[in-house]
Symmetry: C2
Subunit: 79 residues, 2 copies
């Protein structure tokens, strides 16, 4: 079973990486880019076959390791 986790900085937390991308896009001549946020995506290949259990396990992984919940939010998709 595959799981995909998105980890993004929370709104209000400065995102210098995203800001750098926005600036670089402007330098390359791309106009009309109002905002850029950059985050992480983590794709997991799990032995678990039950979707609900897999989601619970991955949520625990996020809380313990994958996201810093003080400044980052995460979302879990099971496919």
């Amino acid at each position: 079973m595959k799981a995909r986790v998105h980890v993004m900085l929370k709104n209000g937390v400065l995102d210098p990486q995203g800001e750098a991308v926005r600036h670089a896009l402007g330098s390359l001549g791309f106009e009309g880019v109002d905002g850029v946020r950059q985050g992480k995506v983590i794709e997991l290949d799990l032995a678990e076959t039950d979707a609900a259990k897999a989601k619970a396990t991955v949520t625990e992984m996020c809380e313990k390791l994958l996201a810093n919940t003080v400044i980052e939010s995460y979302s879990v998709e099971i496919a």
Copy 2:
């Protein structure tokens, strides 16, 4: 208009970051994690209102800046 870009290392390209996550999950007692790949997600806030044009622009951004197409693949979602 919002766009989301996923940039992942191509299959066959070593992903030491994903491997480190897999190892750390094992150390924390999570079993049955067969593979981990880590990539980037970039959320763009665009002034463009036409979905087809936005997708074309973002694809050009990927080719020019956001992805290193030698080792990375990307996908664009317009929302």
